[in-house]
């Protein structure tokens, strides 16, 4: 190895000769040990940095994908699945809210349906009831909507209600909703107003909640209640 190197240096051009002179100059000098010290110190820094770089790169690899670790910890895997499922449910509920808002806007935009919150019983329309501003736990709010019987028949309506579903699987029990009247009879062409009174429980968690009010015997009546709870 050393012989090869000398041979190459020997046959090198002007630059090589100059390099030899420089190297010889350094060797002849008393400062050889100083030069060696500088280079050794420099090499140590390089070796440390390369080692640190390799270590950091390996840590990143582990953080980005660690299939073995995920497989070896079933609890962690289950927690991930649960978290993902909750997120999927949240996404679904957000999508539902967005859709109901869109449907309501469409309904609002049609001239014949300008009477917001008026339900005609023979057409399956969706009414969205929203709080004007977000509510805090323990606060109350009242919503009103009206129903119109546009057929020649008399209809009996008995309301049923769901719980309010919020983010991360949080719910507000249906007892928070009081519908007045809880049932009613509509004669032909008759219109009646319905009041929904909401009392948020004091332990309600923040988030956007959705609930559904329907007629127990008639799927044409659908009222979606949309409530935002803030801390």
């Amino acid at each position: 190895m050393a012989a090869n190197k000398n041979k190459n240096q020997g046959k090198s051009n002007d630059g090589g000769n100059l390099a030899n002179d420089i190297l010889k100059g350094i060797k002849k000098d008393e400062i050889l040990s100083r030069a060696q010290q500088v280079i050794n110190s420099a090499v140590n820094v390089l070796e440390e940095e390369i080692a640190a770089g390799i270590l950091a790169a390996k840590k990143i690899e582990k953080k980005v994908i660690d299939v073995d670790e995920i497989r070896s910890d079933p609890d962690d895997l289950m927690n991930r699945i649960r978290r993902d499922t909750h997120e999927a449910v949240d996404l679904f509920l957000d999508a539902l809210t967005a859709i109901t808002k869109q449907v309501n806007k469409l309904a609002d935009s049609k001239p014949e349906e300008k009477t917001t919150n008026k339900e005609t019983k023979n057409n399956p329309t969706l009414t969205l009831l929203e709080t004007e501003q977000p509510l805090r736990p323990g606060e109350t709010d009242t919503f009103k909507f009206s129903l119109l019987e546009d057929t020649e028949k008399t209809a009996k309506i008995k309301f049923q209600k769901t719980s309010l579903f919020g983010p991360n699987g949080n719910t507000i029990n249906s007892t928070a909703l009081k519908i007045s009247p809880s049932s009613l009879t509509l004669k032909s062409k008759e219109e009646k107003e319905v009041t929904v009174h909401l009392t948020l429980p004091k332990n309600a968690k923040p988030g956007i909640y959705n609930g559904l009010i329907t007629d127990a015997d008639n799927s044409l009546v659908k009222v979606v209640l949309n409530v935002e709870v803030i801390p």
Partner: protein, 342 residues
């Protein structure tokens, strides 16, 4: 090879790379404050070491110039993006004998141009796939990723020292900072990338680490020395500007290690005030102290030792390769680093 031929070859490779850069600049608005400014720094005619080392290493290992051209374009774009941002961060006034970009426009525009150049540097790496195949192209992508990471880490080290007005730095701290900030992207990775291309991915690139490191540190220390003693017209930056900027050079570290406590307090006081309020007279005083304490001589010697070590590494790696102009070019660059006056 003499220095004139070295410069001529570097100029050729540089011009080739500059043409390549032009092809990647979108021909659309906004031009005045973005695309027209992209080639502002590359056109100022730097030494062209990065594309030169990359293309020369590629050819020395049996590759063709055009195979390295996309990578050379990427290196040059990223290098100039760093220079623009570096000038803003250092509040420098001149770059290659002209006002820095943020001085001729403003800091916001200069930063945005630098950002654009970094983004433009990505596409040549993508284009590498067509010339080099997926495997080698991805290897080069990771080389560049490492190069940029090390550079910003090194820059952060230096900026942190200035912000905290650090006074307890050692030579090893300085070498570490230069390795990270300068060596990886000026020498180590251009050589590694060139050799990877030339050998079609068959070489272990780590064998160039020491060579590039010794070259880079030697070059940077020499550059810092020349900032204090060179002919300003040839050098292209304001002489002594590094002292005004508070740059932690090997000379400053040496001086702070060897001067009296009173002198150290004076230096720290000077470094603690904002750059624009620093007095030229005090900077000159520090320069005189650097001469008096042998700090400049110490740094110049260190640069020479490291250049000698770089030559030794060069012969270890390249001696088995057939002689070629490109092999000689790399050797001559190292020798030039030892002897250059600007």
């Amino acid at each position: 090879m003499d220095t004139a031929l070295m410069k001529s070859m570097l100029a050729d490779y540089g011009a080739h790379t500059l043409n390549g850069i032009q092809r990647y600049i979108p021909d659309k608005e906004p031009k005045t404050y973005l695309y027209n400014l992209i080639s502002e720094y590359p056109n100022r005619g730097g030494k062209g070491f990065r594309p030169g080392l990359c293309i020369a290493a590629c050819k020395a290992f049996g590759g063709k110039e055009e195979e390295a051209s996309h990578s050379a374009v990427c290196l040059e774009l990223l290098h100039n993006a760093f220079l623009i941002h570096d000038d803003v961060e250092d509040e420098s006034f001149f770059r290659r004998n002209k006002p820095t970009l943020h001085e001729s426009t403003n800091a916001a525009i200069a930063i945005n141009v630098g950002d654009a150049m970094q983004v433009l540097g990505l596409y040549p790496l993508f284009k590498n796939r067509e010339v080099l195949g997926d495997k080698v192209a991805m290897q080069i992508f990771l080389e560049v990723q490492h190069m940029v990471t090390e550079s910003v880490e090194g820059q952060a080290m230096e900026l942190g020292w200035r912000k905290d007005n650090t006074s307890t730095l050692t030579e090893a701290d300085y070498l570490r900072m230069i390795l990270k900030k300068t060596c990886w992207y000026t020498c180590i990775h251009p050589l590694r990338i060139g050799a990877i291309i030339g050998t079609k991915g068959k070489i272990n690139p780590e064998k160039f680490d020491r060579l590039g490191y010794f070259m880079g540190t030697s070059f940077q220390i020499q550059d810092d020395v020349l900032n204090l003693v060179a002919d300003g017209e040839k050098y292209g930056k304001e002489i002594g500007g590094d002292i005004l900027e508070g740059k932690r050079t090997l000379m400053l570290i040496h001086l702070m290690e060897h001067c009296s406590p009173n002198e150290l307090a004076g230096i720290l006081q000077f470094l603690s005030i904002p750059i624009k309020q620093r007095q030229q007279a005090k900077a000159h005083e520090i320069l005189e102290m650097m001469h008096a304490y042998g700090s400049i001589e110490h740094a110049a010697n260190t640069a020479r030792y490291l250049a000698g070590a770089a030559l030794k590494e060069f012969y270890t790696i390249f001696s088995r390769l057939p002689d070629s102009e490109d092999k000689s070019l790399i050797e001559t660059i190292i020798i030039y680093m030892i002897n250059r006056e600007y």
